[in-house]
Symmetry: C2
Subunit: 153 residues, 2 copies
């Protein structure tokens, strides 16, 4: 006999990759909206936060930290510079290199944006206990490392 069952995605839910994508998509959307009023995107916020936390950082180091191609970083730094949040200055030890620093405005925007992000995160992680968060973070880190290792083989 025909049993009409509701279609579902159980077969995919067994894969961590699927859950990861679903969660990331939803989180990305929420965080993007949280950063809208600061005229920041997730990637420009990340760059700004790292420049604030690591004054004197060079673009190539930043690209390395954020795991993105140097060529892709250029435009994002352009945006941050045009908004007056960071400065690109010449390195005195390597004339090819630049030195990135946040402006006062950049540090201020970073502080406020970080608060907004933290609020969004709290709203999204509200049902996740501290113990679970710690497992989550650790597992994500392990997965990232293992996946990256697989890729570079």
């Amino acid at each position: 006999m025909e049993v009409e069952t509701e279609p579902d995605d159980k077969v995919l839910r067994g894969f961590a990759g699927y859950g990861l994508k679903r969660a990331w998509l939803a989180v990305h959307s929420e965080l993007t909206s949280a950063l809208e009023r600061f005229d920041l995107k997730l990637i420009t916020y990340s760059a700004l936060a790292l420049i604030v936390a690591n004054p004197g950082l060079r673009p190539s180091q930043l690209a390395e930290l954020l795991a993105l191609e140097r060529s892709n970083l250029v435009g994002f730094l352009d945006q941050l510079e045009k908004s007056g949040l960071i400065r690109r200055s010449a390195s005195r030890v390597d004339r090819r290199a630049q030195v990135l620093t946040a402006t006062d405005a950049g540090r201020e925007v970073c502080r406020k944006a970080t608060e907004a992000i933290a609020r969004s995160e709290e709203a999204m992680l509200g049902q996740v206990t501290q113990a679970e968060r710690s497992v989550l973070t650790g597992a994500l880190r392990k997965i990232e490392t293992a996946a990256a290792r697989l890729r570079e083989e």
Copy 2:
């Protein structure tokens, strides 16, 4: 005195969103490469797997399950159909709708691709215990739900 410290992304690692993005990016890259030899992308594999698991599924239901716009699904179904992995047939209860079914070849490719994915997942999750995986999956699900709820407000 100047203490030259290595630049790092500690400030961002505190956010679940950052870890999520990093992990997803690495996992996406690995899974994409694992599916390459089947001429499948992550999204077409997902669609195929859901059609195999839910015979008779309609495109709009599939889009709903995969959380993507119907318009974006069209091209992916085109690819699967052109590869002979699925069939689109007319619904007999609703002349607007289509009914999706996998072909024999589709089921076979799905089976093999699923094995490949499972192997990749095992390699990526090797250092994550079963208990941790269970927490991970649950936490991702909670986060996805909470983030989606925030978005639709």
